[in-house]
Each structure stands twice: as C-alpha cells, then as structure tokens.
C-alpha cells in the first residue's frame, strides 16, 4: 500500500470485508491520517454509544478490539485529523459460531 493511498483515505487492513470469524472478539487494524481520531462501531456492546475510540500513530496506523454479534456485523469506521478532515469506511464481518 502506498502512502498516497493512505493519505487519501481510511483503510481497514484486517479483517477483510466480508470475512467470517468464529471468535466474538475481533482485533482490527487499519491505516489513516497520522494522529487521526478513529471511532469504530462496537456491535456486541449493549449501547450504540459504546464506540471504540483510538488515535492513529504518526504513521496513521491504528488497532482496536471490538465485540461481535452472531451473524453479520456492519462496522462503520470514521477518522478525522486535526483540521477536521473526515474519512469514513465500513466493512462487514460475519460471526459464525456454528459455520
């Protein structure tokens, strides 16, 4: 992945969109603008306000752990830098305890 790709947006490196997992605890990694605030849906939490919020490092890399529900989990990710520039992406992960 080139720096220009990263600087132009927000990329989820792991997991792949549409992937299926068996563990309700999902570790995700991504890359966005350096120092950006990144908010990530946490589907398994009772309240929709229970986002996971992290700050990307100087390379724009970030990681987080979210909890999944059985079935499809649509996870929105929003990142913003110091100037208020905002990037949005989403991906779906399927939790199948009994695939």
């Amino acid at each position: 992945m080139s720096n220009s790709q990263v600087s132009s947006g927000l990329i989820i490196l792991v997991p792949q969109d549409g992937s299926t997992v068996k563990d309700p605890l999902l570790d995700l990694n991504g890359q966005t603008m350096p120092g950006a605030v990144v908010s990530i849906d946490n589907p398994g939490e009772a309240s929709p306000d229970d986002l996971v919020v992290v700050v990307a490092d100087s390379s724009g890399l970030f990681s987080a752990r979210v909890t999944l529900l059985e079935g499809p989990n649509l996870i929105d990710v929003v990142a913003s830098d110091d100037l208020g520039n905002q990037k949005v992406t989403s991906f779906t992960v399927y939790l199948e305890n009994n695939p």
């Binding site: 549409g18 299926t20 605030v37 908010s39 309240s47 929709p48 306000d49 986002l51 919020v53 700050v55 079935g71 499809p72 649509l74 929105d76 929003v78 990142a79 913003s80 830098d81 110091d82 100037l83 208020g84 905002q86 949005v88 779906t92 399927y94 695939p99």
Partner: protein
C-alpha cells in the same frame, strides 16, 4: 559339401526371417489391442463422459467428479441447499417474488436467492421473523449456498437495521456545561452545539479534567437529520496546541 552348407545357410535365413515376422506381428497385435482398450474406455464412460451426458440431458452444466455433489433435488417448494461453497451477499432487498428474493448488491449487480422453510431469518426485535416480515428496501446480509441446480438458496438472512451516520467535529470549546451541553467553533468558524448525557464519554480519561472553554476537542456524534443539536457520544480532548 559346399552345396550343403549353402542350403543350411539359406534355411537358417528363412527360419530367422519367419521368426522376425512373428515378432513384428505380435507388436502389431499389441498396438491393435491398445486401440481397442481406447475404444473400451469410450464405451465405459469416465467422469468426463458422465458430465457431458448429464449436460445433454439437463441442458445445464454440472460438476461430476469435481468435488462434492449437492444433495437433494427440486421439489414442489424449491430446491434444498446443497454442499456447495457458502457465500455471503450484502445489499438492499429489491424485490420479493414468491420465495425468491432479489438483492441489489453494492457493486450494482443483483442476485436472486431462494428462501426455504429451513432458512433462518433474523430481524432485530422480531424473534419469530418469517419471509413475510422482510421489507423491500431494507438492508440485509445473506448467507447462501448453491443447490443441485446451481440456484442460490438462503441459509441465513439477517436484516441490518439502519443507523445514523456518525460524524467527527473538531474545534475549540466556546461553551461547556458538564453533563448538559457543549459548543465548539470549528476551523470554518461554524458554531456547533451538542447535548451531553451520562453516556457521553470524555477521552482520554487522564485529560477529562482538562475539558473547559478553550480546549481543543473532537466531538463524535451521530448526524441529526433534523438539524437539531446532536447528542455527543464521545469527546476527545486533545493536548493544548502550542501557540
């Protein structure tokens, strides 16, 4: 004596010549047998020939000998899911024709998926959801599998509830009433107000006490389509900017 030797020599040549001819014939016979075996192979079809025969009979391609066959067959209510590879589809439900859903995918294509009695249907807040509860225009994720006719059959359908888009607003705090409201001015000079609730988190915790008028913050809140003040989900307090 000399004549006798010549006769013996000629006789030996004739015998050897005759023996050599037999060897050649045996080789030819073997070659002929090989061709026969080839013909027998065609008479007793292998997987490839069977595959072609099924295609002729049904007019549809099949995959005999290329992995597990799908089980079950067409019945009055449709097909049974087979053992083919499971696939996931996500999109907007475009149409319902009987027990067949047409789902419009992200990439602009659409796919028809058959719903069976055995299909599990999940709709939030509806534990006993059925096909009749699915609504055109709703977003859904479907796990499906090809049946014996290569038609997709739904194993599980999950309706995905709509949720408001989340936004980040970055700016300097111009007014702050803990537990009630906060107002910031962003880089464009716009004044934006947010409602605070007990669920609003102030991050990182070690800087929560620093939140005050003049703080530089990112406020995370769902976009309110009505235009009214949104409820802040989280406030990220940034380190003070060097002047």
């Amino acid at each position: 004596m000399k004549k006798n030797l010549i006769s013996i020599f000629i006789g030996v040549i004739l015998v050897v010549s005759a023996f050599g001819s037999q060897v050649y014939k045996a080789s030819a016979s073997t070659s002929s047998d090989y061709l026969v075996i080839g013909n027998q192979a065609e008479m007793n079809p292998g997987p490839k020939a069977t595959e072609m025969a099924i295609e002729k009979a049904t007019g549809k391609p099949t995959q005999v000998g290329k992995g597990p066959k799908t089980q079950g067959n067409v019945n009055g209510n449709g097909a049974n899911p087979g053992n083919g590879k499971k696939s996931h589809f996500q999109g907007i439900l475009g149409a319902i024709n009987g027990n067949i859903l047409t789902v419009n995918l992200k990439d602009g294509r659409s796919v028809d998926i058959t719903v069976l009695d055995s299909t599990r249907i999940h709709i939030p807040k509806n534990k006993n959801a059925t096909l009749a509860d699915l609504q055109i225009g709703s977003r859904m994720a479907i796990q499906a599998q090809p049946d014996s006719n290569a038609a997709l059959v739904a194993l599980m359908i999950n309706a995905i509830p709509g949720k408001p888009q989340r936004e980040h607003q970055v700016g300097v705090v111009t007014a702050y009433t803990p537990g009630a409201s906060i107002t910031i001015q962003n880089n464009h000079g716009d004044s934006l107000s947010f409602i605070l609730t007990p669920n609003t988190r102030i991050l990182p915790q070690l800087r929560a006490g620093d939140l005050a008028v003049g703080s530089w913050v990112t406020i995370i809140a769902p976009r309110d389509p009505s235009g009214g003040p949104a409820t802040a989900q989280a406030i990220v307090v940034h380190p003070a900017k060097a002047v």
